[in-house]
């Protein structure tokens, strides 16, 4: 039963984002933002996702009648930042993103992503692994175990799918993790040289790492909220629980 509180309640996405932001601020990152209504260049072309290429199918896009689109990921903020800043830098970019797909308990046409980008000299996969472990341990606890699996996102190479050992069964396999012992949590990689080049940074001199994580999904994993759509109804029966 609820307690009466004179304080209001933050939306759980805001709390999650701020929690992650604090972790990254401590590690020297700066928070940046960007528009939700994007152009093709920043959302696709500059991210090494060419027109008429199948990699565009990986994300169903809301195209707008004004020729623009609703960003399908916060990765577009990467490009805007690289274009307008001299490396080295380390940024995080939380924000709303959109996918034109049917909604259900785990899919919503709008949701939140959290993007991290580092561009500096001699960035390696080992560095990426450091940030991922530090971040996920702070969110899910020190006993968190992660693994990197090969995957493909056009804007990174090598590209990874990052799994977390299932917190319910500790890796032995249960219904939560579909008996695999692991739960897919985010996509990551070293910034593709083409991306740096498109945004005006010489990839021979600079290198980068990046990852993006679904905020709603983290909230759902943490709170066991079972329907993503509940986050966007404005219903205080949800909000006031957090």
């Amino acid at each position: 039963m609820n307690q009466i509180s004179t304080q209001g309640h933050l939306h759980p996405n805001t709390s999650m984002i701020e929690g992650i932001v604090r972790i990254f601020k401590e590690m020297g990152f700066v928070v940046v933002d960007g528009p939700e209504m994007e152009d093709e260049w920043h959302n696709f072309d500059a991210l090494n996702v060419p027109k008429d290429h199948t990699s565009r199918d990986m994300q169903d896009t809301f195209w707008l009648r004004n020729g623009k689109l609703l960003r399908t990921h916060t990765s577009s903020v990467q490009i805007r930042h690289i274009e307008s800043h001299k490396p080295p830098f380390a940024i995080v970019a939380p924000g709303k993103v959109f996918r034109n797909e049917a909604t259900d308990r785990t899919h919503e046409a709008q949701f939140f992503q959290f993007e991290a980008l580092v561009v500096a000299k001699d960035i390696t996969v080992a560095h990426l692994r450091y940030y991922l472990e530090t971040f996920l341990k702070k969110v899910f606890g020190d006993d968190t175990v992660i693994r990197l699996r090969p995957s493909f996102f056009p804007f990174v190479e090598p590209g990874f799918e990052v799994d977390m050992q299932c917190g319910v069964c500790k890796g032995t396999g249960c219904s939560t993790c579909k008996k695999s012992g692991w739960i897919e949590i985010l996509g990551a990689g070293l910034v593709h040289p083409n991306v740096l080049n498109s945004a005006g940074v010489d990839p021979r001199e600079w290198s980068g790492l990046a990852f993006g994580v679904g905020v709603d999904r983290l909230v759902m994993m943490q709170t066991r909220l079972d329907d993503i759509r509940n986050l966007y109804t404005g219903d205080l029966r949800v909000i006031r629980q957090f």
Binding site: V30, E36, M37, R65, A126, R149, T223, G234
Partner: protein, 777 residues
């Protein structure tokens, strides 16, 4: 893609690891195995092949190659199929439009046996969820699932004329094999005879020349269509097939040859009669691939990128596993040796490095080709090479270095801006020509006036009167491994691609975390911080944060393909979302024991003027003394006072919702106020969708009794239907205290009625009445 374990085993002499083990291995080294299904004693994997690997892995052989790499079990070598020799010369000719066809191969086969397929073929198809049709159709499908090349067979007797043409459609409709009428446009391409469209190129076969059990003579197609066209047609017609999926990701044209050979062999084995005759092969292949793609590798770059030390020996061993041939070269020596062989090769402006090299060159295709073949990839055109090559002084020039010039020849224009490398970089002097210094004041280059690759003295050459840069791509003596990439590995085109390959085969689990050293960042207040400051003040004042939908029924900017008609526009204000949320929550206010609902949202809105960040605040009050409007005014004042900013224009209906454009004012927020956030989560509890009921009860209690005594009675007697209770009134008089409670009842299963709640209240009253220390008011 479905992959059969039994089918995979056919490529190996040695027993494969058990299915589950194999799936785990593929998962961490190659692709996600989403599911393993048992099917008649076989295990069927559902493998998610990533788009970059579609060219080599959308097939059983492709997956077998991966399995071989990660298990160290050798593949059988019998998969180099021998050609079935030709018995006669076909009368058919091919007229293929090169804008869609990289390659079109055709073979006529007479007197085939089109019957129900033998069990062996049927089982293969059925194991991966495919329907068996007849011998010929099944064979073309099996070849596709086996090596990844889509094929098609036509009934020769149903074809009008003797020319197979690939061109924009003859008709506006085609009836496909599944009897659907599909509309065609002039942007599509079809395979056609003299009269009709026979198939949608690369996508779907047509009804007209369908192969069925009456068929005796067939025409086999093994082609390579351009990905972009297949993709466009597939998207426009909404027909996605196993064939279109493979073509739109790209396939090597060399696979068409293998597929035709394999299909011929299978036809001989499973669908031939004593009278079966194979024709010669027609092969329309205007721009053949000449040589394997060359990629350079620096051994130290592998460890530099992956962050783990991998020995040269180990790296080379991994290259062997992938089937990559390699040699170590001295870059400049290799470049010089190569270019000397090109002397006299004709000049052609715009020559393709990939297809034309060694036949024709222009100035920059020559340098690009020579360096690529020597393990250093450089951009294709002179202006990009200009920016790519680090500048050196004339005195530092050594054989193999590049000399850039502005010839002043305007035929093809002088470049002022880079195109590919750091696009848009400006070269003020202009550049349009590049040559390779070969020593002794001489330059080797391809020039249009000379008409060929030639050596000239720099001083005497007409091309190098105005030298704009001397560039050095590598130091003299530097070496590279030059890798010959297998044709089907169309994903490996640069050093980082091969480093990724090495990393995943070596094992990402062997990379341990290393903390990077970052320069400290300035602790400036960003717009993010400023928004949080405002949010924190609102939370302090009891406002709850909501996030509502961006899509609405009306607005300025519309969505091309909306999810629903009432979600066809982007919101221009937060008004609708906040108003709806107020309505919803106001109905439930008793659940929270609130008489005022106070909410806010910070979100983006979209108008013809552009995108704006808005703070919207909504208040709906049932309080007699505190009207919504008054609470809104107070919170705005509070924000202004506590942040020290002027909120500026307030867009409002002013009754229940106000909105403020934040963009112009965020910069003036100079303090942070942020006390509320926590990462430690509270578990979410589902809520009931059924209406709740409230009951109030007021009790006099003697001094010997406390609130806790009353609450115990309320909780004990109410059972699970009580969702909350709140003390809303409390005062003392004459040594006694009065307590007023509001009880909220709700069920997860049904709408509650008085018949259910009244007896509960009755029992509470009775319990209180039976104790002389209590008196119901």
């Amino acid at each position: 893609m479905k992959v059969s374990y039994t089918w995979l085993q056919q490529y190996f002499e040695t027993q494969l690891p058990p299915p589950k083990e194999l799936a785990d291995l593929l998962n961490i080294r190659a692709f996600e195995v989403e599911d393993i299904e048992e099917h008649n004693g076989d295990s069927i994997f559902e493998i998610k092949v990533t788009p970059d690997r579609a060219p080599d892995c959308l097939s059983h052989l492709g997956i077998a190659r991966e399995v071989s790499i990660h298990t160290d079990l050798p593949l059988k070598t019998v998969w180099e199929v021998a050609d079935v020799p030709a018995d006669f010369e076909t009368v058919y000719a091919v007229d293929a439009d090169p804008t869609i066809c990289n390659r079109y191969m055709l073979r006529e086969i007479k007197n085939v046996s089109v019957t129900e397929s033998p069990l062996e073929l049927k089982q293969k198809l059925e194991s991966i969820g495919q329907r068996s049709i007849n011998t010929i159709v099944d064979i073309t499908n099996i070849v596709m699932y086996e090596i990844g090349q889509p094929m098609h067979a036509f009934d020769a007797h149903k074809i009008d004329g003797k020319v197979i043409k690939i061109a924009p459609p003859k008709h506006t409709y085609i009836t496909t094999l599944d009897n659907r009428e599909v509309a065609l446009t002039i942007e599509d391409f079809t395979i056609q005879d003299a009269q009709d469209d026979l198939a949608i190129a690369g996508v779907k076969g047509g009804k007209k020349a369908e192969v069925n059990t009456q068929t005796t003579d067939i025409i086999l197609e093994s082609a390579n269509f351009l990905p972009v066209h297949v993709r466009k047609t597939s998207k426009r017609t909404g027909i996605q097939t196993d064939s279109s999926k493979r073509f739109e990701n790209g396939l090597t044209p060399l696979l068409a040859r293998k597929a035709l050979a394999l299909a011929s062999e299978y036809i001989q084995k499973y669908a031939s009669t004593s009278a079966t005759q194979f024709s010669n092969i027609i092969d329309v292949y205007p721009r053949p691939i000449r040589r394997p793609y060359a990629v350079g590798l620096r051994i130290d770059a592998v460890s530099q990128k992956l962050g783990v030390n991998i020995s040269e020996e180990k790296i080379l061993h991994i290259l062997d596993k992938i089937g990559i041939q390699y040699k170590q070269v001295n870059v400049k020596e290799s470049v010089l040796a190569l270019v000397h062989e090109t002397i006299g090769v004709p000049y052609k402006w715009g020559a393709s490095v990939q297809f034309d090299s060694l036949d024709v060159f222009d100035c920059s295709s020559l340098t690009s080709f020579a360096y690529a073949q020597s393990g250093v990839q450089i951009p294709r055109i002179s202006v990009d090479q200009f920016f790519f090559a680090p500048e050196i002084k004339k005195e530092e020039l050594e054989p193999g270095d590049l000399i850039f010039a502005n010839t002043g020849n305007l035929v093809h224009g002088i470049h002022a801006k880079s195109v590919q490398f750091l696009p848009g970089s400006i070269v003020e002097q202009g550049v349009d020509h590049v040559g390779i210094y070969i020593g002794d004041g001489k330059v080797l280059h391809a020039g249009s006036e000379i008409g060929a690759v030639a050596i000239e003295s720099i001083q005497e050459s007409n091309y190098f009167k105005n030298i704009v840069k001397y560039g050095q791509l590598v130091k003299t003596g530097e070496t590279r491994y030059v890798l010959e990439i297998p044709y089907e590995r169309m994903d490996i085109r640069s050093e980082i691609d091969i480093i990724e390959e090495i990393g995943r085969i070596y094992g990402y689990e062997q990379i341990t975390p290393v903390q990077p050293i970052l320069d400290p960042q300035s602790a400036q207040i960003t717009t993010y911080d400023a928004i949080n400051t405002i949010k924190s003040h609102l939370i302090d004042q009891g406002f709850d944060e909501v996030i509502t939908y961006t899509f609405l029924k009306k607005g300025d900017i519309s969505v091309v393909k909306p999810l629903a008609q009432d979600k066809a526009y982007l919101r221009t204000t937060l008004h609708k979302g906040l108003t709806d949320a107020l309505e919803l929550n106001f109905k439930n206010k008793e659940l929270y024991t609130l008489d005022v609902i106070k909410i806010f949202e910070v979100g983006h809105v979209f108008t013809d003027e552009g995108e704006k960040t808005i703070l919207g605040i909504g208040v709906k009050s049932a309080h007699k003394k505190q009207k919504s409007k008054q609470i809104l005014e107070e919170i705005l004042t509070h924000i202004e006072q506590s942040t020290g900013i002027t909120l500026g224009v307030v867009i409002a209906d002013a009754q229940e919702v106000v909105e403020i454009v934040l963009d112009p004012i965020l910069d003036s927020i100079t303090h942070t106020h942020n006390s509320l956030y926590t990462l430690s989560p509270r578990p979410y509890a589902p809520f009931s969708l059924y209406p709740f009921m409230t009951r109030d009860i007021a009790v006099w209690a003697n001094a010997s009794k406390s609130k806790a005594d009353i609450e115990k009675i309320i909780v004990d007697l109410s059972g699970e239907l009580l969702v909350r209770y709140d003390l809303f009134d409390e005062f003392s008089k004459d040594g006694r205290s009065s307590y007023g409670y509001r009880l909220v009842f709700q069920s997860f299963e049904r709408t509650l009625t008085d018949d259910e709640v009244n007896p509960i209240m009755e029992s509470i009253y009775n319990a209180l009445k039976s104790d002389p220390d209590f008196e119901i008011r």
